[in-house]
Amino acid sequence: MSMRITRRATLGAGLASFAVGGKALAAWPDRPITLIVPYPAGGGTDIVARTLAPLMERELRGSINVVNRAGGGGITGHEAIARAQPDGYTIGMITNDLSFYTHLGQSRLTHRDFAKIGQTNEIVGSVTVKADGPYRKLSDLLDAIKANPGRLRGTGAAPGVNWHVGFLGMMDALRLDPRSVIWVPAQGGTLGHQDVAAGGSEFSTSSLAEARALLEAQRVRTLALMGDARAEQFPDIPTLKEEVGIDWTFAVVHGMGGPRALPAEIRTRLGETLSKVHASDEFQSAMRQRTIRAVNRQPDAWEAILEQQLNTYGRLLREAGLARG
């Protein structure tokens, strides 16, 4: 107990002196930094965090502990990051799930509750069908949807979250009614693709990364990517724009953030460190291996994108009758 008080006192003193002259910054980090991952170990967010942590440790000459705070669809962990002491010793991975919570009436948390350190990557959505099914091109699938309203089944996520919103946005851009497709809830993107391979649904909109093994096994076929460029691992798969001429893109976006009041000096130092290790071969090749697209957007650019998503996704969810807030 006394240990704790001493620590807090030291910390207070540290913060005070730093407010005066920024002298203590030289000492940061003098104890381990906690990097909260709001999702379970082994998921996409977790992998990015666990790849980054040792690389950043080397640069910062301090230790970083990755802590999974899963539960509540990511709300619990995101809340823990937003409410942490803004002393630079608790930061976390944040995702664009923050663009859904308030519209779905689940939490008031949005990206505005966080200080951005930098975007790390994006996982691009897709339109994927059964390999030996009747759809060879995206237009085949779209024609079938138009010809049989209320018959075809799409899957890949629970309603109102990530890959479902990717689907809603695509239908909106194509001026098609999203209700003309039966949306089948899935417990995650991989299981969505698997349901397509098993013939349970006609198409899935979850990511290319999650489809990779099934693609290589020739059990599914990805008709289009929801990104602004082709994936280097699969150069033959066109983008939505190339296929049907719409500008809609959708990806799950990960990045590093901290509580809103994170001191600017610490934020800058973390951001610079992140950018540096992000460019390293180790990080880049780890991401390439998982078909994750490494993108290091700087805080302002990233924030602008999150703000725009918050509004767009809100409109899509309202139009689909899913918003309650």
Binding site: G43, G71, G73, I75, E79, L104, A158, G199, A213
Partner: protein, 497 residues
Amino acid sequence: MEALARAVGMIADPEVLLTILLSSVFGLVVGFIPGLTATMATALLVPFAMFLDPVSAIAAIVSATAMAIFAGDIPGTLLRLPGTPASAAYVDHSYRLAMAGRAGEVLGVNLVFSALGGILGTIVLVAAAPTLADYALNLSSFEFFWLAVLGLSCAVFVVGDNVAKGAAALLFGLLLATVGRDYTSGFPRFTFGEPDLLDGIPFVAALIGFFALPEIIRTMRAPDADGAKPVAQAARIFAGMGGAVLRWRWNFLRSGLLGTAVGALPGAGADTAAWTSYAVSRRMSKDPQAWSRDSVEGIVDATSANNAALSGAWIPALVFAIPGDTITAIAIAVLYLKNVTPGPSIFLENAHVLYAVFLAFFVANLLMIPLGWLAIRAAVPILRLPRKLLMAPLLLFACLGAYAVDNSLFGVGVMLACGLVGYWMEENGYPVGPAVLGMVMGRLVEEHLMTSLIKVQGDLTRFFERPVATALAVFTLLVWLWPLLRWLRRAAQRRTA
């Protein structure tokens, strides 16, 4: 063949062997501590896996999880506190036998059949991975729905003597399973605005509460009651095991294969495997009276199945990168991290890595016998302590385990609440087993039912459209109607007589 030789070379490396040994010890400790699951052991290994070569990294995960699933049986038998959820199905049974002075025998059964189950599962994995994975890939929500219903039907066999109270407990478990975000609409149910409940009641925390806390409360209220009788000589746990293996060989084969199959299904892991084979064991037993009174038959079945399921879960994981359980979900991530891409190509590009992983399974399961023996020897003296003294550290462990799940105090609250409810239930003759089973299976049944209903827009006849689904449906209905058919036949015989 060349790949196999390379694989042997990779495993025989002293560094790899040392990794296996260390992670085995780690797995034993984690499995022994209630609340720390095999999944958590895997998660804790990830940072170390970053520094290991791919074979060592996977071998570490394989050995730690196999040991953890076995070690979960030790506190389950000695203290009625399942070390991992995979031991929950038969913890009551083991503890009752241990109280009757047979702790040594039960632990011996746990150890020997865990190791054998793991080996059987590995043989299936090696022999049939591509074929089985291919098959599993053709299953959709309709098939999963019937499988889940079949699993839920198993509850009939674990409700205990008072069917009405057992059914009430099961329904209570099913009610608890409805807490959380509605699967189909995303709408929160019974969460009272609490984000921690959005994913449902934290299962591991609830499990610890239901099983451990009532025992602690009871002991504290009647401090003079006897605990399990000390095992005279821990060294004798292997006595009679040769005979046991011969006697239960068919049970072992059936449950080992069933466990592997359950493990290979996405979403169902070692705990479901144990519940299912425990229930099947009761149904198929030639001597049902002895089964529920003093036989280890049910334990043999369940303890073989949960270790076999571990290997089974790797089948879809290696072939299609689809995790069979939460452990392989993490292992897949580690494989990617190590530049080994799981998928059909793994059999071509990385055959030597794959063989080395298979060898690691065998080594780990063989190593389980000596290490498990040591672990039991270390654990058994616990029984000589006065039980009252044990309860405080036990409560501490229970709190620690409940906290560790999501690193949150919420889990501790859930554990305490479930513990009080569980205590009340047991004091009034309601078994907690069916409630826990209801929590496990309720979610699966609901998910797959709702998914299937959405797919067919409510047309129930289409649940019988797919051949495999139809076969499973017919089988399920036969299981349900079996008592009725038997009764009809008996009635007919009586009439002719």
